[in-house]
């Protein structure tokens, strides 16, 4: 079982408040992603759950037991660090075996579990190598191996993919998702990459300045962002947020329209604009369009190839049922 409940958790370093006061329920078997810009407190929150930082106030309950005062090792959680944090002087085998050795497990059982973990993670050929002799992706797998052998209540991932190159990142993303499906263990994952959050999470927690802005499934956050911050943060490219007269037409202080929800035409439409930059990816075309309705270029996505270039005139029409409306405080109007 891997339930983690945070009750009025607060964290401050001296006078600097990182996390004001926060409640969060993580249910057994969920894949929860903490996402937010750098400095939003997401890593601190993970470290509080891990026990690597002490809470300033509030309670952390793991599996119904108050774990607030428990040392990291007693919480039954395993963590994968951004830098992998492998033990450089130990072989892959010894790295993976380390938590089991610390738990005082007998040798035969350790060997069995390490061999099994190495096999599932395709590490059996590297089992006697040192971390320095491995590639980034292999090191990441060792770190994951070290976490899974313990059969923890929950896994904590602290930006585990940010040190990998783009291609490897996509691969590892899939592997972690598969791992979750197979083990069905609770996973708490921290990232600043909203694509990772969208693709992996059952539940996303969007954080800003230590506050939870919204909690929900990826599609909930995409279709019904609670405020302009979540609207701008979730989705790629970013949602266009337009104020002024255009927003007024929709009875809102700010209107939001995602790049994929703007109809494009070269002859007619609601907003006239000039293409500033066009990005032709083959599968999609992204246009950055300067238009009098907004002082920043609007981003528009067209499926497939849309043959316009810098300087061309285009007409944009937001799909009315896809428009998001926000009030003067930036909160969504439902």
């Amino acid at each position: 079982m891997g339930q983690i409940h945070l009750e009025k958790v607060r964290k401050a370093f001296g006078d600097v408040v990182i996390i004001p006061e926060l409640d969060l329920q993580i249910e057994d078997g969920e894949f929860v992603v903490f996402v937010g810009p750098s400095g939003c407190g997401k890593s601190t929150l993970l470290r509080l759950i891990a026990g690597l930082e002490d809470v300033t106030g509030g309670k952390i309950v793991i599996d119904g037991k108050d774990a607030t005062e428990l040392p990291p090792a007693k919480r039954g959680l395993a963590m994968v660090f951004q830098s992998y944090a492998l033990y450089p002087h130990m072989s892959v085998r010894k790295n993976i075996a380390f938590p089991l050795k610390m738990a005082g497990m007998d040798k035969a059982e350790i060997d069995k579990r390490v061999d099994y973990a190495a096999k599932t993670l395709n590490l059996d050929n590297y089992i006697d190598r040192r971390p320095a002799q491995l590639s980034g992706g292999q090191r990441q797998r060792v770190a994951i191996g070290r976490a899974i052998v313990r059969e923890p209540e929950a896994f904590l991932f602290d930006e585990p993919l940010s040190n990998l190159d783009a291609a490897l990142r996509v691969g590892m993303r899939l592997e972690i998702s598969e791992l979750h499906q197979r083990l069905k263990t609770t996973m708490v994952y921290v990232t600043h990459d909203q694509v990772e959050a969208m693709t992996m999470a059952d539940k996303i927690v969007v954080l800003r300045a230590g506050n939870i802005e919204q909690v929900g499934s990826p599609l909930e956050l995409y279709t019904a962002p609670r405020n302009t911050f979540v609207a701008g943060f979730i989705g790629s490219p970013k949602m266009n947020l337009i104020g002024g007269a255009e927003a007024g037409k929709f009875n809102a202080a700010t209107m939001g329209i995602r790049p994929e929800h703007v109809r494009l035409s070269t002859s007619e439409g609601a907003w006239k604009g000039t293409v500033k930059v066009s990005e032709h990816l083959g599968s999609d075309t992204f246009l950055h369009v300067e238009s009098p309705v907004h002082d920043e270029p609007l981003t528009v996505r067209a499926g497939g190839e849309f043959p316009v270039h810098s300087g061309d005139v285009v007409y944009l029409t937001p799909e009315p049922d896809k428009v998001h409306r926000f009030d003067a405080n930036g909160l969504a109007i439902r």
Partner: protein
């Protein structure tokens, strides 16, 4: 991308490098050669380079005139003793500064280093008087303490830069993996710190071995190390260069051999932290 270097330039820099290397090495080479000459050849003008009658006479004379082994044992005691004492103090100090730094940590480090800027002779008289008072003159213990103190700032600095390089996340990983403090130190920290400690030990041994100011001023015979052994051959009756050279060779030989075998470790130690 590698820079394009013309063959001519490559040869030029190679020659220059060898030249600089030889200039640095020449005094040792000359001392080595002189130690096998007769006293007359040693001061002959023009000097002879290799075409002289090689003799072991100087080395034999030295052995009969003084007890080399006695001095060498003292050098070993002093360098190992001061290094051991240094580690006992510096490891926890550097540890604390690296892993739980405070606002003043940098100041403390700089202050420690500033003591190395004081000319040693400035405190000679007070130290000398204290030594008399405590009966430490010409004692190994007294010298061990002095050598330990003068090298302490350097040991702390070196260890500090080493420990700084150990990522905190690895220690946190160990904590997550269930290691208690003792196991965290013995199984994770110590093995990672060993190379750093080893090169610190090596450097400190060399520094203590070569230290001449305090060892000459605070000893007469009982605790005198090899530096005093060399100095004893520069006598008021005139310098006997060949014997002086032989004595020097005998004094530096042990440390030269140790240094040679551990040069890789030593270079790493001296440049660690400066370049990644």
């Amino acid at each position: 991308m590698a820079r394009n270097v013309s063959p001519g330039r490559k040869i030029g820099t190679t020659v220059l490098a060898w030249f600089v290397g030889l200039v640095i090495f020449f005094p040792i080479l000359w001392t080595f050669l002189t130690s096998f000459k007769t006293e007359l050849q040693a001061i002959s003008i023009p000097p002879v380079f290799v075409g002289f009658d090689w003799t072991l006479e100087n080395y034999q004379t030295i052995q009969t005139q003084s007890n080399y082994l006695h001095f060498m044992m003292n050098s070993i005691y002093l360098s190992l003793g001061s290094t051991a004492l240094g580690l006992i103090v510096a490891v926890p100090a550097a540890w604390a500064m690296a892993f739980s730094p405070t606002k003043r940590t940098k100041d403390v480090l700089l202050w420690m280093l500033s003591t190395k800027m004081l000319p040693a002779v400035g405190v000679l008289i007070p130290v000398y008087l204290m030594f008399i008072r405590f009966g430490l003159l010409d004692s190994r213990l007294g010298l061990i303490v002095v050598l330990f103190l003068i090298n302490l700032p350097i040991i702390v600095w070196m260890l500090y830069t080493y420990f700084k390089e150990i990522p905190g996340e690895i220690l946190e990983a160990a904590r997550m993996d269930g290691a208690n403090l003792r196991k965290e130190i013995t199984q994770v920290l110590a093995p990672m710190a060993v190379p750093g400690i080893a090169s610190t030990v090596l450097l400190n041994v060399i520094l203590s071995w070569n230290e001449a100011f305090w060892t000459l001023n605070l000893t007469t015979s009982n605790a005198a190390p090899l530096t005093a052994f060399i100095a004893s051959f520069s006598s008021p009756q005139g310098n006997f260069y060949a014997k002086l050279s032989a004595a020097s060779m005998l004094a530096i030989a042990p440390i030269l051999i140790v240094g040679w075998f551990s040069q890789k470790q030593l270079v790493r130690g001296l440049t660690f932290g400066a370049v990644k």
